[in-house]
């Protein structure tokens, strides 16, 4: 590909005390693709996500998102550039209603000032009604319609996963990083999540998926990055990696452990 990658990770490294989590990681993610990030436990996948999204600061290296250096920025600043990540367990805003979870996801940043909230609250009635309609459409789409006015903490694990996708869809990010979206999910819901990822792509978001479920990765992703011991050991279409000896040794060969 000749176009500039949307996300460029160049030689980042991170150690926690004596433990090297990420040794020297370099990879490029191109716009409009769904990329799987795989590797055995402890390979450094989640650490890379933390470094990219600003929750940890790398010891060295750089991360360029659409021409902007992300290192040194706070997570909220990175998010406002159009990058949204998830965590291994769903992190809903528990004591808010399901519909408010999605409303906050659908960025209201420009209207969140104390003064604007106080003075011009009444002027946004039309806007709020339109937004509520949009949010309700998302609720229906992610099968959360019946629980939309309930407290988010009461949702089942699977519904929380779907809420996460509804929130991301509302936020319309340019890059979505999903950390194990299939964790604890049954096959039927797994299908729905695969579909949700394809929908994100159709809506214009580039997606990075960290996952252990290889059939899911094969079905969902255009490209796969394999990590082991804190570095990237291979990158390419899933079918090519099947025969890569390093990958087989590091990960696929131990698939049945």
């Amino acid at each position: 590909m000749t176009q500039r990658p949307l996300l460029e990770i160049k030689g980042i490294a991170k150690s926690f005390g004596g433990v090297v989590a990420v040794a020297d990681c370099t990879m490029s993610i191109h716009e409009g693709t769904v990329v799987g990030l795989i590797g055995p436990n402890g390979a450094g996948k989640s650490s890379v996500i933390d470094l990219v999204s600003g929750f940890e600061r790398p010891d060295r290296g750089s991360v360029i998102f659409d021409g902007v250096e992300l290192i040194g920025k706070r997570p909220d600043q990175i998010s406002r550039l159009g990058l949204i990540r998830t965590f291994q367990t769903p992190r809903e805003w528990r004591d808010m209603s399901v519909i408010d979870n999605v409303r906050v996801g659908r960025s209201e940043l420009e209207r969140e000032g104390v003064w604007r909230s106080l003075v011009s609250a009444g002027r946004h009635h039309d806007l709020e009604r339109r937004e509520t309609e949009e949010v309700r459409a998302l609720m229906t789409h992610y099968r959360l319609d019946e629980v939309r006015n309930h407290r988010a903490v009461g949702l089942s694990g699977g519904q929380k996963r779907l809420l996460e996708f509804a929130r991301i869809a509302a936020a319309k990010p340019r890059l979505t990083i999903l950390d194990e979206p299939m964790g604890g999910v049954n096959p039927v819901l797994g299908e729905r999540i695969g579909e949700a990822i394809r929908e994100l792509k159709r809506a214009g978001s580039t997606v990075v998926v960290v996952e252990h479920n290889l059939p899911f990765i094969e079905k969902t992703c255009d490209e796969v990055v394999v990590m082991d011991l804190g570095t990237v050991i291979a990158q390419g279409p899933f079918s090519e990696l099947r025969d890569n000896k390093r990958v087989v040794d590091a990960y696929l060969g131990n698939d049945d452990e």
């Binding site: 999204s53 929750f55 706070r74 997570p75 909220d76 998010s79 949204i84 990540r85 998830t86 291994q88 367990t89 992190r91 809903e92 805003w93 528990r94 004591d95 808010m96 209603s97 519909i99 408010d100 979870n101 409303r103 906050v104 996801g105 960025s107 209201e108 940043l109 209207r111 969140e112 000032g113 104390v114 604007r116 909230s117 106080l118 609250a121 509520t132 949010v135 309700r136 099968r143 019946e146 629980v147 939309r148 006015n149 309930h150 407290r151 903490v153 009461g154 949702l155 089942s156 694990g157 699977g158 519904q159 996963r161 936020a171 194990e180 964790g183 604890g184 049954n186 039927v188 819901l189």
Partner: protein, 344 residues
Amino acid sequence: MLQYWTAILTEATIFGILALGIDMIWGWAGDFDLSAYAYFALGVYMTMVLTIGKPTSPVEYILGYRLPYLFAVAIAVVVVVCFASIIGAIALRSLREVYFSITTLGAVWAIYYLVENFTPLFNGYNGVYGLFDPMGGGLSYAAYHYFFFAGCLLVLFAVYLVVQRLSRSPFGRMVRAVRDDERAASVYGRNVFWAKYRTYLFGAGLAGLSGGLFAAYIGAFNPLDWKPTEIFVLYAAILVGGRGNPRGVIAGSFIVYVGFVEMTRYIPSPAARPELGPALRQILIGLLIILMLKFRPSGIFPERLGTDGTEPKRSFRTLFRRPTRDSDPDPLMDEDSISETVPQ
């Protein structure tokens, strides 16, 4: 008797404003702040030293102006907010939960002992006193108290309207998202510190405002009037009324101040043990907190969920029903297609 009740209700009204401020910090932003009483006290002291004029020896305090009452209250609120901006910046930068509480507790005691021992500030433990009339004179003693009560009610109502509007605005939603999960809020572009800090300053400002009103109500103020531990009475009020629900917080303030703090004054103390009555009051308030947490943790008026307006209207009877809480299974959970998530 009427005057007695007016005095008690005035007090409950003033503490209602303070409780609304504390509820913003704790109920909305989730920070269990223990220094709010210092902001309240600073509001009282500042209003007094700005209105009662020069001190006469041996009394000493700073400033000693004779400004119009409302102007003095406005300055007091500004001073309190400036002061809270320092404590808030230290406590909220990276401390959360119990560490935040400990820091604010340290702050309030430091201020308490400073005020008590450094007499040039607010006359030490003898305190500040002086007569001033917010209504500018011309009213009889009784009429003045009724008017002052009406004024306090008006301020409480105005504060309620502002707080209620904020509570349901995008700002209120954002602050609650930060409360429920900071990491998720920052992933969706919210600056966690800034959200909590603004809420903290707003709450401190309300504490200062209630102090300004209390100054006119009490007319004399010394460290015995504001033991920092008294804040737990306000937390009891918030718990009883409903954390995060402005209407509930006001109801809780009236219930606790009228029902508990004042009613328990009638508990007879044997002549030999005059401390029994006040001690029983503390015990009763402690018991109230425990019982509320056990049987109705979200209060009489639980925090309102943001909805799309299509939910069935709450009837009066639901007030007396135990609200469904976290542990209750959701009848709409679709067990066939959705499994439980196992945390990794």
